[in-house]
């Protein structure tokens, strides 16, 4: 495989308490040595990381790759291409495919597609219940043997409390976390945005914050009795953050994630019925945005995950009521996260923990460390690069983003998975220029 020297950057590796100017040497797919600048010998390739941060590969623990079944929205190939372009070396993909990932066979299919794509690492998440119907437990053991790293009925909240109890108990046998999409379906009703001043103004049906909070509270109560591990997906409200904070204080095995859109946007982004601001859970109020930031800073929220949810243009180019819920996130997450560091003084170490160290820990997968001998999953971040979001140029198959035309600061310059460069921003930019010149 040869060797790569990442030279001249600043290594930020919170798992090993390192934050210093240093070169990183990769030999045969593993981190070989972390040394002072200049003492690396003669590598096969040298990557100039001057002005850049060199961090353990980013891990997005909540994406929808849509394959099998919805290949018109995204495939494992295009989704992982979007991942490496966004600086992610690994993603965990949800089970709401068609067929649903509720058997080992579907898990294996996804794993094989990921091997063929040979881009980011792909960790499938299995369904909690057969067909995501919320009735009977899926064969979690069989899926575990095929490679799942957690279970979740994401997108279809588990309304049956007894099923949730048994899922927590049973998955513990395999050390798997249950990832919960917290939404009381009766309370959320047919709401299509946050219930609040904007829904009242626009005449849209709202989903109250309590629809999420009631279920967070329920699942924490179940966890107290059952043991097991509970991970709360896409926390969106201040009360949810507080419930998790108090559960952690009691020593419960609960973790939580938040999405970049929930700490960046408020319900006002719906504006004039913009369907790219429609997702579940919905965008909330500025007080919720602040609470999520506070949760990230004090460690209540362990992880940042995108909930990358590609949808076809036709599924968004409809009346707001009818539009599909969800937005793509892999290619816009990093600069939105870096804005927390730049504008709100979130320590960079906290950010790297939330985007790499903690997702690896929660899912029980390798990564999150640049220690000697670790698999060489590395992201080289240029924190100062400025660019404009052009959805038409996404690597993802879908363009459903509320961040189109946003001016961003910071991007992944190089993404390395297992010691192999999977993404180089400069090459991609040059390729884009060639294409634009060719069409002139």
């Amino acid at each position: 495989m040869g060797s790569i020297l990442i030279a001249g950057g600043t290594v930020i590796d919170p798992a090993n308490n390192r934050h210093e100017a240093a070169d990183v040497l990769i030999v045969d797919g593993r981190i070989a040595r972390l040394g002072a600048p200049g003492d690396a010998g003669e590598p096969d390739e040298t990557i100039d990381a001057g002005g850049c941060w060199v961090v353990p590969g980013l891990i997005d623990m909540h994406v929808h790759l849509r394959e099998p079944g919805y290949e018109y929205k995204e495939t494992v190939q295009t989704g992982t291409q979007a991942a490496v372009a966004g600086g992610f070396t690994a993603v965990a993909c949800m089970a709401n495919t068609n067929p649903i990932n509720d058997t080992g066979a579907v898990t294996k299919y996804i794993v094989e597609k990921a091997v063929a794509a040979n881009l980011a690492r792909v960790y499938p998440i299995g369904a909690v219940s057969v067909g995501l119907k919320g009735e009977r437990l899926a064969e979690i053991g069989e899926m575990h043997e095929a490679g799942i790293v957690a279970v979740s009925d994401d997108g279809r909240p588990i309304m049956d409390s007894a099923l949730m109890r048994h899922a927590l108990e049973y998955s513990a046998m395999f050390g798997l976390a249950v990832i919960a999409h917290e939404e009381d379906l009766a309370l959320a009703g047919d709401g299509c945005m946050n219930e609040g001043p904007t829904s009242f103004r626009l005449g849209l049906k709202g989903m109250p914050s309590a629809a999420e909070e009631a279920m967070v509270a329920r699942d924490i109560a179940l966890l107290e009795r059952t043991g097991g591990r509970l991970h709360i997906a896409h926390v969106s409200t201040a009360n949810s953050v507080d419930l998790v904070r108090r559960a952690k204080a009691r020593g419960l095995a609960v973790s939580a994630e938040a999405t970049p859109h929930h700490f960046t946007l408020t319900e006002e982004a719906v504006g004039d019925y913009d369907t790219n601001a429609k997702m579940a859970p919905p965008l909330r109020l500025s007080s919720d945005v602040q609470a999520i930031f506070d949760g990230l800073r004090d460690g209540t929220i362990d992880a940042i995950a995108t909930d990358h949810a590609p949808h076809h243009h036709d599924e968004k180019n409809v009346e707001f009521d009818c539009a599909a819920k969800g937005i793509v996130g892999l290619e816009t997450a990093l600069p939105l996260c870096l804005a927390l560091v730049r504008e709100q003084a979130l320590p960079i170490e906290a950010l790297i923990r939330a985007m790499s160290v903690n997702p690896a820990r929660i899912l029980g997968v390798p990564g999150g460390s640049l220690a000697d001998g670790a698999a060489a999953d590395v992201t080289v971040i240029d924190p100062n690069a400025t660019w404009r979001v052009e959805p038409d140029r996404f690597q993802s198959k879908s363009r459903n983003t509320p961040f189109g035309d946003w001016q961003m600061t910071g991007q992944a310059r190089v993404t390395i998975v297992g010691g192999v460069v999977k993404w180089r921003m400069l090459e991609a930019a040059a390729e884009g220029r060639r294409k634009r010149n060719a069409t002139r």
Partner: protein, 326 residues
């Protein structure tokens, strides 16, 4: 002066724009009192009504308005669920727009549907009611009716009573009434009057307090299906607390007027003797609806004509025909 390309809602319109719409509407009232109720103003213009929700009053009112202006009016009644028909709302509207109408009137159960279309088709769009969002022509006819009877449109206390949560009539009226400098009270049970309403007006859960000393009492139709969703125990119980009867109306100002956008549920939100009584403006509202819709069609369709380059009449004749004439 109202110079917008579409009429999507009253939110954001200025006092001057609102008054100009009402003034224009007032000038059209007289046409409906003539022996021959037709003027040539929009001759040769085509107006399409696209009604995805059942409507008798609004649809008929728009159709009469268009015809009294000599426009050709075509109505399309479609199923509200476009997906079951197989064609999307956008595709339907694009096909209609391709036939070059001069205005498209739309009623749809989805809030924002007219806004969605206005951005995507090349034709003035008139909102005839979008979900629980806005119903601008209804509020304009309400304002015209108030001004006819009360003589002014400012410093009034207006109580709006009923299902505020789901009411597009309320939203349009509140925007306009507040812009024009009136006090708004919103009255109803808490299930139909969410806390957010407090930013829009004074909130009352007691009908008697809500209407006390009001100049105008606007009753809303109670959708019967609300009781099935547990917004209410029963229609009987709703009427016990929120039916405007003579005793409740007596608490309003002595010369207070009563309005209702229709269709009314007699004995549920309004007692028959109030609906049919001296204070009721319900029929005047319906009459004024035609004038308001004539004014809107006139302003939006003429705006398009004014924006297009003026072509001398002779140039509009086909060239070959002109040669023959010559």
């Amino acid at each position: 002066m109202f110079t917008h390309r579409h009429l999507l809602g009253l939110e954001g319109l200025s006092r001057e724009e609102l008054l100009s719409l009402i003034d224009t509407a007032a000038t059209f009232k007289e046409i409906s009192d003539r022996d021959i109720k037709k003027v040539p103003t929009l001759r040769g213009k085509t107006v399409v009504g696209l009604f995805y929700e059942a409507s008798t009053r609004t649809r008929t009112s728009f159709e009469i308005a268009a015809k009294r202006l000599s426009a050709d009016y075509i109505n399309i009644s479609a199923s509200s669920s476009s997906s079951t028909k197989g064609e999307t709302l956008l595709d339907t509207a694009r096909n209609i727009a391709a036939m070059r109408p001069d205005a498209l009137i739309i009623r749809h159960s989805a809030a924002g549907a007219p806004h969605f279309l206005a951005k995507r088709i090349d034709c003035p769009v008139i909102n005839a009611g979008d979900g629980a969002h806005e119903h601008p022509t209804q509020a304009l006819l309400d304002l015209l009716t108030i001004r006819d009877k009360v003589g002014r449109l400012d410093n009034l206390t207006v109580a709006i009573v009923g299902d505020i949560l789901h009411s597009r009539v309320t939203r349009s009226n509140v925007h306009a009434l507040r812009t024009l400098g009136n006090r708004v009270r919103l009255v109803g049970p808490p299930t139909l009057l969410p806390s957010e309403a407090g930013a829009w007006g004074e909130v009352h859960h007691d009908l008697r307090n809500g209407v006390r000393d009001a100049d105008v009492v606007m009753m809303l139709r109670l959708q019967r299906e609300r009781q099935g969703r547990n917004y209410l125990p029963s229609l009987d119980e709703y009427s016990r607390y929120f039916c405007l009867n003579r005793a409740a109306l007596a608490l309003a100002k002595p010369d207070a007027v009563v309005m209702h956008p229709g269709p009314i549920n007699r004995g549920i939100e309004i007692a028959s003797d109030v609906a049919d009584g001296a204070a009721s403006l319900i029929m005047q509202q319906v009459t004024n609806g035609v004038a308001v819709r004539m004014a809107i069609l006139f302003l939006l369709v003429n705006r398009v004509r004014a924006a297009a380059p003026e072509v001398p009449a002779a140039e509009q004749v086909a060239p070959e025909r002109r040669r023959k004439v010559g």
